[in-house]
Structure formats: C-alpha cells, structure tokens
Symmetry: C2
Subunit: 421 residues, 2 copies
C-alpha cells in the first residue's frame, strides 16, 4: 500500500532508523555528530542564502524585530551551531549505563540498563539553531529525531536538517534518524501528533501557545514546560546584602526567561530594613514594583498588587512583592502560585533552609543562590533540550538522560516460577 | 462558592491532604498503615455483609464465576488484605532519598531528592483487595490516593476506603488522603479524568478496555500497561533441558497473566531436537500449538499460525511457534510483535545472550529464566501497583519508587548568574 501521508512516511523511516541508533556505539554516534557539523559547514552558502530570503519575507510581513533576530543566521551564528554539534559529541553517553538492582534469593540477578526512547518529535518555533541542537541530543542519546520548525524559517531549517542527514549517512548511520517535516501547513503538525505507534515522545519548544496546543492535540506522551513562575523568599535570618544581590539577579539580569523571579516574598521581621534597600536597587534598573498591603506600608510609592499578579509570569521588568509573617506562609504561597520550575530561599538559618528545600515542590529548589541557574548548561549537563515542569519522567533541565529510560535485565540459570508456593 | 461536583470536592481534599502526606516522616506513615489495618479488621462484619449482598447481586445478574470469585471476600481474604497493609509499612521509604548530582565550578552543590508525585487516582475493576493495596502504596510513598473501583463491588470498596480513612485520621494524618469515588455512574470516572490541576497521575488497573478508555479520556498523565505479548527465544546454543522447563513455565504455569509467553521462537539448528520434546510436554498439559511453515515441517500435526497469531495475547493454553534462522530474526520478530513487557532468551552462548539483552527493547529482558518473574514481588519491590509497558517515567513492575519523582536541590553561598559571560 502506498504511503499517502509524507509525515507518516518520515516517522516510519525514523522508527526503522531508531533501531540502528539505539545499538550504535558511542564512537559511531560521536563520529556522526562531527560529520553533521562538517556537512553543515559545507552547506553554509546555501543555508545563509535561503535564510536571507526568509528573513526578508518575515520583515516584509511586518514581523517584530526580536522575532526577525531569532530567525536570522549569519556566518558566525552558523559556525556556533556547528560547534554545538561537536560539543555534544564530547558529552558522556548515557546509553548502556548499567546499575545493580537486586540479587534475589532464587539466584536471579536483576540490573537496570539505560536505553534510548526511540523516536522523539520536537516541535519548535523559528530559531534555526534548535534544528541542529535537538537533532544532536537525540542522536547522542541513541534516538531518532523528527523535527518540525516554525513556518517562517521552514526552508532554512529543512536545509539544515538535510545537511545533518547527509552527515549521518556519511558516517554510516541511517539518514532517516533526522527527519524534517517540511510541510508548512499546520495540519502536518496535527498529523504528526497522532502517530502514536511511531513516535515515543513529543517535545514542544516555544511559547505557551505552542505548548498548550501540543498537549491538547497529542496522542503521544509530551515533555514540556508550563511557565516559569519563580519566587525568592528572603527569610528573617537572611544575609541582607546577599539577598539584595540574589533578588536583583533573579529579577533583572534577564527578565524575559522562564527561570527569572516573578514574585518576591519577604519575612516581615526584616522587611523594614530590606525592602527600601532592595527597592532602591530595582529602581535604578527600572523595575516596576507591585506590593501587597503590608509591603506598601513600607514602600508607600509602589502600586498595589492585584490578585492576578500572584499568578502572572511577567517576563519583564515587573515584580510583585509580598511580605509574609512566616516561612510557612511563604511555602504556602509558593504551593498555591508557583509553577514548579524554580524556587529559592535566602537564609542563614540552616533549619529554615532545610525546611524550605524539603517542603517546596519544584523542579529545582535553591538555598542562597539565584533561580537563574536553572539551566542544563549551568547544571553541568552540557546542553539542554528544555526545562520540564512536569513531575513524570524528567523534571527540571532535560538533557541526554531525560531522552532515555531504563529496562530491567534479569539473568538466571534456569529459574522458573511457582506461583502456588 | 459551593462545590457542585462531589468528585472534584474529593480531589480537592486529596490535594490538600497530599501536602501533609508529602512531609510526613516514615514513622508516621507506617503508624498510619498499621492503623488502617486495624480499622479494616474492626469493619470486618460490615464489609463482609455488604460484600455478600454485592456477590449475590452479581450472581443474580449472571456474572461469570471467575468474576464473582474476584469480587467475593471472606474472613481469610480480608485478613490477608489487612496484612498487606502491614507489609507495606515494613518496606523502605523512598521519599527523601538524596543522591549527589554535581559540584559546579562556581561552588554550587547540586543534589537530587526523591519526592512524592502528589495525588494519584487509581481506577480499577472489581477486586476489592486493590482498594487497600493501592491506598497503602500511595500513603507509603507520601501521595494521596483517589480510588474508583468497579461498580459491582462499589459498596464493599467504599466501606473499605472509609475504614482506611479512619485509620489515617486516628494516626494524625488527614483522612482526605484516601478518597473514594462512590458514584456508580461511569460519568464520574470521566469527570475524574478531567481534573488536570488536582490529580498528578492516573493508574488504570484492569483489562485492556479500561486501559484504553482511561488513556483516551484522560487529560492527566497515565501510567498503564498495554498488553503482555511475551516471547521466549531458544537459541542454537541453549541447554535444551533448561529450555523445556523455562518454556513450559512461561506458557503453562499460569497462562492467564500478562507475563506469560504467547509466542515461542526457536533457532532452526536445534528445532528438530527441541520441538518434539517441547511439544510432548505441552501436549500433556493440553496446550494448543500453532506453527509457522518451518515449525510445521517438524511438528506436522499442529495447526498453522495465521498472521494475526503473532499479535495475539491468548492469555490461554495456546502458543504460537516460529522457527527462525538466526538471533537477528528473533530480535526482529520481537521488535515487530512484542508489547515491551518481558522477553527471554535461553542460551549457553554468552555473546548471543548479551546481544539479546541489549538489543531487545522491553521493560524486562531475561537470560535463562522465565518471563513469569516479571512482578514487583519477584523483583523484591515488596508490592506492586502494576507493570508499565510505557517507556516514560516508570517501566516494568511499578511499586513505591514509580510513585515518586526527583527534584533538584541547589545550595550556594550567594551565587548569581552572569549570562553575558
């Protein structure tokens, strides 16, 4: 029967390729990553040419400058993307790692072995770097990648994906292990999300609109992040100079990212001393403050925080501040409003810190450090596919290990089971 | 605002209760499990009385004897259920386990801590033992449980759940941590599966119909098993006496369970010697054999296997047999037809065994042992919530650890991030 849907055909090729990838030794995968980088460099002129025309079209269509900037490539950016592929080759390979599990009284030895998931679909917006980046993490972790980039850069991405597939082939791995859905129609994404038997995991990389759509449409398990509604709690025992630095960094160093702070919680005992110092620092950086009634008794000039503020991911130089009576009140506020990405306490009191680290439920919980470190690179993972705010499978920064699972390996000497015993 | 839907109200109570459960020390959870057993014993007369009337109603409605048997309780079965609760109290507590992750050059220390998931909904069929069993595993792993048992035993299950909740309360933990959806209407299950913000995981325990329905309807992540289509491959190097014992056990010891073998793969080199011995053993146990053409050249009297046989979970004394030319052909057959639950090789050749263990992708892969050991108890987990054939989160037998996740704990001394560096 002829394959009608080209997306399903790509997925079928990826599924076949995934079996070879799963068994490829580390050296073969690393050689492939280096060949992928080489092929990408060889395609430089073609990729930059197509990209220039897509950038022009996006500008003509009135796209925002920030959007166009994410879309645009130049020789320097392309070289950085190629180096990224080579860097993934240097990371340790999680596949095949074995850990002991149990030695049973009947003589069975049970261990766990780390194995790839199979086929991973990545649906992303326009940044062309993601194409190489996502493919590299999939190949290194022994998975096939099925990529679908944003429509505005779809020809750039298709060319990059083709170069990567050539690199795979040149190194003896199946080219089908990096597939690219070049159909610009949105319906192609929906068809992709229905391929339950062929794709093992879907990862959306983009804004909340994309994530929500993928979650709603997908028949396949999704690994994604919701939003980053992060808090810093300044305890009564905090070193206030340290607290000022951490809170400034968490809010203002790069406000548009998911691991930036959106709400500051301050213990009332130090509020009178801390809040004016902190507010002065924020003011110089142009941060707009919105406070609860207790906060506004100290910072009289700031706006009141509306109930919706506690649930808003500003991604901007805006901060809501709440003065709390206790650690419990802070933990409770976070349980109600946090998104489970990253939460921090600044405290000298070790008991308070221990309680916060234990009681706050989030992918990453910090003591005396900025939430901004929530990142695969900063955690030493070498790269990052995204930050999961889910509780199942992988939580926090996701890199190679998050793209694998474990199987049980049971070895015996002829054991059979007697369930009547 | 009054809560209209009682299912949502139960879930909300469970969510609140889950915060207390997550922080409860091991000793408190163990005390609660023992109190739950005590309360269950105290309710013996009431539970057995209600159960007798439900058994009578099921019989009157023409339910199959096997179904009625699963439904029915007596003093012995109830005592076993109570002891099961006490046994879970003796298992090690996974919550709070900490493992090192990284020490970063900037001085940050990163570790991982095991934490509960939150609220777990378990949707099961009529066996009343599941009520106590599932609640016990949830409580021990620091989660709240939301239970929905089959309609035919719904009053029995509701009484058991009430006894468990009294046990929790008596030991100082919130009674809401074990909730039971007593509404017999199927629509109640659908409403439960829509409570995305309140429930963290759904586990269906029952036949394929239930599992498929839950997967299709649920907006919440699901942990489930598909089916058990398990193979045993008898290699050219196998100890044939051992192979006969393993293959007999895997098929015939208890054919109705998911970890029983459905298809036997035999290397052609030993087929002439092995198949007649094996067939004679199966014949005495009344196992019906269906073979591929090569197999039927040796076992001339058996039925031919139709293409559908390779994908059929018989759960009965029926076995399909395929004679293969190589290990590769066996591995390939399993990749195409296996359900990812358990697969076994019988071989003396260590290289063949190693290849099989590595190349076959399933929750549990065996060398020289029966697939029938795929079970939480047999793996030393002490109990079992089910066997997952999924790749994400938990694979193979799921017990306490599968009901938890990890969070990153990051400790510093005032570190802030400079992303421009």
């Amino acid at each position: 029967m002829p394959e009608i849907d080209p997306t399903a055909a790509l997925a079928r090729r990826a599924k076949e390729a995934s079996r070879a990838l799963a068994l490829a030794p580390t050296s073969a995968k690393n050689a492939a990553l280096r060949a992928m980088a080489r092929e990408l460099r060889k395609s430089k002129q073609a990729v930059l040419g197509v990209n220039a025309s897509e950038v022009k079209a996006a500008r003509a269509a009135g796209a925002a400058p920030a959007f166009v900037d994410r879309l645009a490539l130049d020789a320097g950016r392309l070289e950085k993307i190629a180096r990224g592929l080579e860097k993934v080759a240097e990371l340790p390979d999680p596949v095949g790692e074995v850990r002991d599990f149990a030695q049973r009284p009947n003589g069975l030895t049970i261990r766990r072995m780390r194995v790839p998931l199979g086929v991973i679909a990545i649906i992303y917006e326009s940044r062309p770097g993601v194409t190489a980046d996502a493919a590299a993490l999939c190949v290194k972790s022994g998975n096939a990648a099925l990529l679908r980039g944003g429509r505005e850069a779809i020809r750039t991405n298709a060319l990059i994906a083709k170069a990567l597939a050539r690199g795979l082939k040149a190194s003896g791995l199946p080219a089908g292990a990096v597939g690219f859905v070049a159909d610009p129609d949105r319906a192609a994404v929906k068809r992709l999300l229905a391929l339950e038997g062929l794709i093992d995991l879907v990862i959306p990389r983009g804004g909340p609109e994309l994530t929500v759509m993928v979650r709603r449409e997908s028949a396949i398990p999704v690994l994604s992040h919701d939003k980053g509604l992060c808090h810093v709690y300044v305890d009564a025992s905090a070193d206030l100079a340290m607290a000022v630095e951490i809170c400034f960094n968490a809010k203002a160093e790069r406000p548009g990212v998911c691991n930036a702070m959106e709400t500051l919680l301050v213990h009332e005992k130090i509020a009178r001393e801390f809040l004016p110092r902190m507010a002065a620092r924020y003011e110089r950086a142009g941060v707009e403050l919105r406070g609860c009634p207790r906060t506004r008794k100290i910072l009289r000039a700031i706006k009141p925080a509306a109930p919706a503020d506690w649930d808003t991911e500003y991604l901007d130089l805006i901060l809501s501040i709440r003065t709390v009576r206790s650690l419990d009140e802070a933990v409770d506020h976070i349980a109600r409003h946090g998104s489970g990405l990253a939460e921090a306490i600044v405290a000298r009191d070790r008991k308070a810190a221990r309680r916060f680290l234990r009681e706050v439920d989030a992918g990453a919980v910090y003591h005396n450090a900025s939430t901004r470190f929530t990142d695969g690179g900063e955690f030493g993972l070498g790269a990052e596919m995204g930050i999961s705010t889910q509780k199942l499978h992988a939580r926090g920064p996701v890199a190679l290990e998050g793209l694998t699972c474990e199987k049980f390996i049971v070895e015996g000497s002829g054991q059979v089971r007697d369930s009547t015993a």
